[in-house]
Amino acid sequence: MSDPILELSGVHTDIAQYHILQGVDLVVPRGGVTMLLGRNGVGKTTTLRTIIGHWQAKSGSLRFNGTHITAMPTPARARLGIGFVPEDMGIFSDLTVEENMVLAAASGPLEQARLEWIFSAFPPLRTFWKSEAGNLSGGQKQMLSIARVMAEERQLYLIDEPTKGLAPAIVSTMAGALRDLKTRGASILLVEQNFAVAKALGDTAAVMDDGRIVWAGTMAELAGDAALQERLMGLSMEAH
């Protein structure tokens, strides 16, 4: 694999007294979608939060675009071009949809062409542009959280369970938007429990267990091997 956008080597992260990441080695290639999979509680969210800097790695190294970011504060990582969509949507509910989007374009004004692209992916955002984000439905809030990270060009998108708890119609809107982002050449590290979405979007995959990456390869390879899925995650994708 040549010139990966992100490399984690031997990353250990503690949250309070708990040792969550126990030596994560992960390579995210430039361009395409890398799925980060595994059962609940194996450290997927902690991995994303360690990459953005919410949790500081206790040891190990993180290299983004060849730059060591291990000791870098979160805003500096964001300014390098890492966008993050947290599991809890991460919108600012007291602000309007417009204000959320303007804030998300931290490096300059929101481009009109980009905004039109976002509106085409998530039409309700145009309708509720001047509304308080806190008044949106769950699905619309999730659309806004993805739209916010799309508000400007990022080098890497970290997205944590974007379809969690959403109605099937909205899941398909989300998947469509992420596919669109992918075809524009974006690099995405995606945590996703919906295997249909994972199979449809993923190019490469890494499976975690007990705070470590236990398997890495192509998504097609994983999706086509039910026994491997059973061994790694205790279930078969075909069942979902």
């Binding site: 964001a78 300014r79 303007v102 804030l103 931290a106």
Partner: protein
């Protein structure tokens, strides 16, 4: 055209409630024409105090309501501005230059002190920042009381201001009211307060204000977008402190006296907190409503209770309950009721239209 001007003046932040608009207009007209509508020393004193407290409370709302920062040092910054004018006027003598130097020095000292407190404590959890501000404010209040050679100690400082701003200066009569320097002084306070309030309104509705609101809601999310939380919090603290100091300077110019009790006491800090909560946190207009109601209650609740006590003289228990000496008890009851019925403050309730 007029609507556009109004929108620009209010930085696009309209009251968004008919009742609120009417109340705010009534307060604005009442304060703008206070010397003519409510002649008399006491009412002018109350109106000036309302103007100054609107600015002081609005500057605190920038911290508490918009940035989610709890500080107990706001009266310290208010006091720095007041003592700046007092010390400059004492040492430089009567003159506008002394007022200007004192005002600027007070605001600069407040901003620098806020910067130091912010850099040392805004990185840590909010509760530590609150505790540090409490400690620093107490230390400064004690210091001001002890350094009597410089600050006048517990007695405070009396000083002279330009004659044009004192009752001794007479200009003539207008609409049956004698226009004295005190009225000119009032209009200095009124227009400066209006300007500072509009400035704060501009700040909270600027991109900077939006980032503060984002940080208040979730500092990690704001950081993940690329905003340096400590920088924004520190800047908000410095700005809030400088505006509080400017309010203090206006207070010193108005009173021609400063003392620890009138500018630095913890009681004033509690009053500011109550005014912000009653008016509505994070609304700016809440500062106007909160300060007006509270200062009016402080000044006139006793009179009102005296009248009510007299009117109910023949009844059992009620005259005793309404005794003017119990005004603080009723102020407390009013506060509890307002928090119970208006948990988002009066402005929040009016805007929600419930």
């Amino acid at each position: 055209m007029a609507a556009q001007f109004l929108n620009r003046t209010l930085s696009g932040d309209r009251p968004r409630s008919l009742i609120l608009t009417i109340v705010l207009l009534a307060i604005l007209i009442g304060l703008a024409f206070a010397p003519f509508l409510f002649p008399g020393v006491r009412s002018l004193e109350t109106a000036a105090r309302i103007c100054i407290f609107i600015v002081l409370v609005a500057s605190y709302d920038l911290l508490l309501g918009y940035s989610g920062i709890v500080s107990f040092a706001h009266t310290m910054f208010f006091g720095l501005g007041a003592y700046g004018v007092a010390l400059a006027s004492t040492h430089m003598g009567r003159g506008y230059d002394a007022l200007l130097v004192g005002t600027l020095a007070g605001a600069a000292a407040a901003a620098v002190l806020a910067l130091m407190i912010g850099l040392f404590s805004l990185r840590v959890r909010a509760i530590f920042f609150a505790m540090i501000t409490l400690a620093v404010a107490s230390a400064v209040a004690v210091l001001v009381s002890q350094l009597s050679g410089l600050t006048g100690g517990e007695d405070g400082l009396n000083y002279q201001i330009p004659r044009e701003l004192t009752p001794a200066f007479k200009l003539g009569e207008l609409f049956g009211v004698n226009i004295s320097g005190k009225i000119l002084n009032y209009y200095l306070v009124f227009f400066a307060s209006l300007l500072l309030f509009l400035l704060l309104l501009r700040v909270v509705n600027s991109p900077f204000g939006r980032v503060l609101q984002a940080i208040r809601e979730n500092d990690f999310r704001a950081e993940a977008i690329g905003y340096r939380v400590v920088f924004y919090r520190t800047l908000a603290t410095c700005l809030s402190a400088a505006v509080a100091a400017l309010a203090g300077s206006l207070f010193a110019i108005w009173l021609r006296y400063v003392g620890p009790d009138t500018t630095l006491s913890f009681e004033i800090m509690l009053d500011i907190l109550l005014m912000v909560v009653i008016g509505g946190m994070g609304t700016m207009y809440g500062a106007v409503i909160g300060a007006t109601l509270f200062v009016l209650a402080q000044n006139y609740l006793q009179n009102l209770m005296g009248m009510a006590s007299g009117a109910t003289e023949g009844l059992p228990l009620i005259p005793q309950l309404l005794d003017p000496d119990r005004w603080l008890l009723w102020l407390g009851v009013l506060f509890i009721l307002s928090v119970y019925f208006f948990p988002t403050g009066i402005v929040g309730r009016l805007r929600s239209g419930d």
